[in-house]
């Protein structure tokens, strides 16, 4: 059992990204905050075989996709690729309060949970619960 839980955090909104990152770091997580899906996937694949693989990923849904175009399913695409690379890997999707349907779709596609942005303390509890399982 590692000392720190390693989290891959992906969101193109810099302020959101930084804020969530800070909350997670405070909660004791080892956080890699990434602003685009391409970098995120590369980082994930790089570390998958290393001795410090990610334990969980937290992904925004609406971001520029792998072609760089703003795409409400960009997070879903990344989710598929992460699960492809490592089946069963725990993923939490971040969603705006008015996009919950798309987040539920992500859960149907294999995400462990979705989280409505804004209450970061709850996100910490959610990550801890998923890691415990």
């Amino acid at each position: 059992m590692k000392e720190e839980v390693k989290v891959l955090l992906v969101d193109d909104e810099k302020l959101v990204l930084r804020s969530v990152e800070k909350s997670l770091v405070r909660a004791g997580f080892d956080v890699e905050a990434v602003g685009d899906v391409t970098t995120a996937l590369a980082l994930f694949k790089e570390t998958i075989a290393s001795d410090t693989p990610f334990d969980i990923a937290v992904l925004d849904l609406n971001m520029p996709n792998f072609e760089g175009e703003v795409d409400p399913t960009a997070g879903l695409q990344l989710l598929s690729k992460l699960l492809e690379a490592q089946p069963g890997f725990p993923v939490i999707v971040l969603t705006a309060f008015d996009e919950v349907e798309r987040a539920k779709e992500a859960v149907r596609r294999g995400a462990r949970a979705y989280f409505v942005k804004g209450r970061e303390a709850d996100l910490i509890a959610l990550i801890e619960r998923i890691i415990q399982d």
Binding site: L15, V16, R18, S19, K22, R26, G118, R119, E120
Partner: protein, 638 residues
């Protein structure tokens, strides 16, 4: 040589061909024989050939032999005229002589003596009238005949007058028909050109009354229920009043219109006295006859009845069945036109509904996007605030922990008073904050860990996150509401406005170059709104140049090629806009600025403001070289 030149000429007037053949046979050997079958021909021939002797049958049709004799004697007094007759009436010979005959030969003709008798008259024999009373009797006969002729003439004149009257009437009929056809043609022309149903109906009643001279014309259309025919157009004040009061008749009731619609055929009511019920309408007191024509679309069993036309006259029996046929043709055309106009109206209504729906959709989409966008921008705020709060509490806890271990006199220090009071307040009003948990964290976390999370940079960063988030949310407000704000239009001189605006934006002087045509005419605008537009464009330009070392903002104000406009160019030497997104820049909530605070509303708001002023914004851009936004504003009218 022609023997007729030398032989004596004899003209024989008789309507019986057999008599003429006999006489010819008897005389043609020694005489030139001429003949005529009736009195008139005989007289004409006598004048033409000037015969030496005329033989005339007394019993001729039309002109009698007596009259022929009298006439010939007047024209050719020296030519002997001999009556030739089978008339055995008493005194026929005397009558003949009285009428002017010079002699008398009884029929049947005696072939043995006839030529001799003729020769005698040719030779100068003349019989004389012994009794003069026959002459006056003959004159009386003539008078009687004359009177008879006058009577005939009078009768003829009279019948002539009747014929004339008849002709006049036919002419009037024809003219009336022509006017009616003209009215029909006019309606026909109108119906193809007028697509607005109400205008069409109004025009039709006017044509009917103006051209045909009807006292009143009105058009009823069947309502949606099919039970009522509602007056939709009516001639003159009466029509206007009836329409104002929503005049309608029940389909199938006793009114002519109601019946015409129910029975689907044209109906006439020609006698005001006989049909008071049908014709009684307080608005149209003078109506004495009425015709109602159904308005039908389509033919046969599929025909739909859409209403009826009524035409009314102040005269009784003003309409004929033929009028009905002609006007029904017009009504058929009208019906189609009304139906077309209705279809068009439906189409327009559908279109308007579609536009409304689309507008609503656009608003809903824009609102949804706005809410989503605001939600995203606001998302980091609660996290940052709660961290700052935690950090504040942690600093307080640390200070108080140190204080408690400090010498007692230090605890009397005024700063210590404030810190301890704050700790007491925290104990009372910690709210959701788990103060004990924080205290434990502080106590147990190693220094490295504490250093990582608890520092002033982190607090400032969080405050900065809050500030930036709030600022981009506030920016959206001006962009959304700006164009709708109340405007104070006044003459604006663009060169001054632009210099002022740039000055207010604190842009490095060396980065801006102006080219301002001094005498450019003023434009009519709200200077604040206009400044907002240029601030937006200049901000965009500065942002496009944020990676450019040698920033060049070029502002050029001049009169446009079209002298009715003043154009302001805002040109940068920034990154340029890729062709594939150049159309999207006008779309609300489209932004390329990512986290740099763009709402995606700035440019759409600018376009809206400029459009409201009657101007336009265009853009030209080359990737890697820069972008020019051109703002066209109409020159203020003097």
């Amino acid at each position: 040589m022609d023997q007729t030149e030398t032989k004596p000429k004899i003209l024989y007037i008789d309507d019986a061909p057999s008599s003429r053949r006999l006489v010819e046979r008897l005389l043609s050997a020694h005489y030139a024989f001429f003949e005529a079958p009736d009195g008139l021909t005989g007289i004409d021939q006598a004048v033409a050939i000037r015969p030496d002797l005329i033989l005339v049958d007394l019993n001729l049709p039309q002109f009698t032999g007596y009259e022929v004799a009298a006439r010939v004697k007047a024209l050719l007094p020296n030519v002997p005229v001999v009556a030739l007759t089978a008339d055995m009436t008493e005194h026929v010979r005397e009558h003949a002589l009285a009428s002017g005959c010079d002699g008398y030969i009884a029929k049947p003709i005696n072939a043995d003596t006839f030529e001799e008798q003729v020769a005698h008259f040719l030779g100068g024999r003349r019989e004389t009238l012994e009794d003069e009373s026959f002459r006056s009797a003959y004159q009386q006969t003539l008078v009687a005949r004359m009177e008879e002729k006058v009577r005939e003439l009078t009768r003829a004149l009279k019948s002539n007058a009747e014929l004339n009257a008849q002709r006049d009437q036919l002419l009037q009929e024809a003219q009336r028909r022509a006017r009616l056809l003209e009215a029909t043609a006019q309606v026909g022309r109108s119906v193809t050109s007028i697509l607005d149903a109400d205008a069409l109906l109004k025009k039709t009643v006017d044509i009917l009354c103006d051209v045909y001279g009807f006292y009143y014309a009105g058009i009823f259309l069947v309502d949606a229920s099919g039970d009522w025919a509602v007056l939709r157009a009516g001639r003159g004040e009466a029509g206007a009043e009836m329409i104002a009061e929503g005049y309608k008749v029940k389909v199938g009731d006793q009114s002519l219109v109601g019946m015409a619609i129910a029975e689907r055929r044209a109906l006439l009511a020609l006698d005001g006295a006989e049909e008071p019920l049908r014709l009684k309408n307080p608005h149209l007191p003078l109506t004495l006859s009425e015709m109602a024509l159904p308005l039908m679309v389509g033919a046969g069993a599929q025909a739909r009845i859409i209403g009826a036309v009524t035409v009314q006259s102040k005269e009784e029996a003003a309409f004929t069945v033929e009028d009905m046929t002609t006007l029904q043709t017009m009504a058929d055309q009208l019906a189609i036109a009304i139906d077309n106009a209705r279809l068009l109206k439906d189409l327009e209504a559908t279109h308007a509904e579609l536009v409304r729906t689309k507008t609503f959709e656009a608003i809903a989409t824009a609102t949804g996007e706005a809410i989503h966008w605001v939600g995203n921008k606001a998302a980091p705020i609660p996290g940052s605030i709660s961290r700052v709060r935690e950090d504040l509490v942690k600093y307080l806890l640390m200070a108080c922990t140190l204080l408690k271990e400090a010498p007692p006199e230090l605890r009397e220090h005024k700063f210590a008073q404030i810190l301890l009071a704050a700790e007491a307040t925290l104990a009372e009003q910690s709210g959701n904050l788990d103060v004990e948990h924080l205290r434990e964290e502080l106590a147990h976390q190693p220094l490295r860990r504490l250093q990582r999370t608890l520092n002033l940079e982190s607090i400032f960063e969080d405050l900065n996150i809050v500030e930036q988030s709030a600022r981009s949310i506030l920016n959206i407000k001006e962009d959304l509401i700006g164009p709708a704000r109340q405007k104070h239009l006044e003459p604006v001189r663009l060169p001054e406005l632009l210099q002022e605006t740039v000055r207010s934006m604190a842009i490095p002087k060396e980065a801006v170059r102006f080219l301002l045509v001094e005498d450019v005419p003023p434009v009519l605008a709200d200077p604040e709104q206009l400044a907002h537009v240029f601030i937006n464009l200049i901000k965009n330009a500065m942002e496009a140049m944020y990676q450019v070392e040698d920033k060049k903002l070029f502002i050029w104000v001049r009169t446009a090629d079209d002298p009715r406009f003043v154009v302001t160019d805002v040109t940068d030497n920034g990154s340029g806009i890729p062709p594939e997104i150049i159309d999207k820049i006008w779309v609300a909530f489209y932004t390329t600025k990512g986290d740099r605070g763009g709402t995606g509303l700035g440019l759409p708001a600018c376009v809206k403001i400029i459009n409201q002023l009657g101007g336009k914004i265009t853009v030209e851009s080359v990737v890697g070289e820069g972008t020019t936004f051109s703002v066209y504003l109409p020159v203020m009218k003097a």
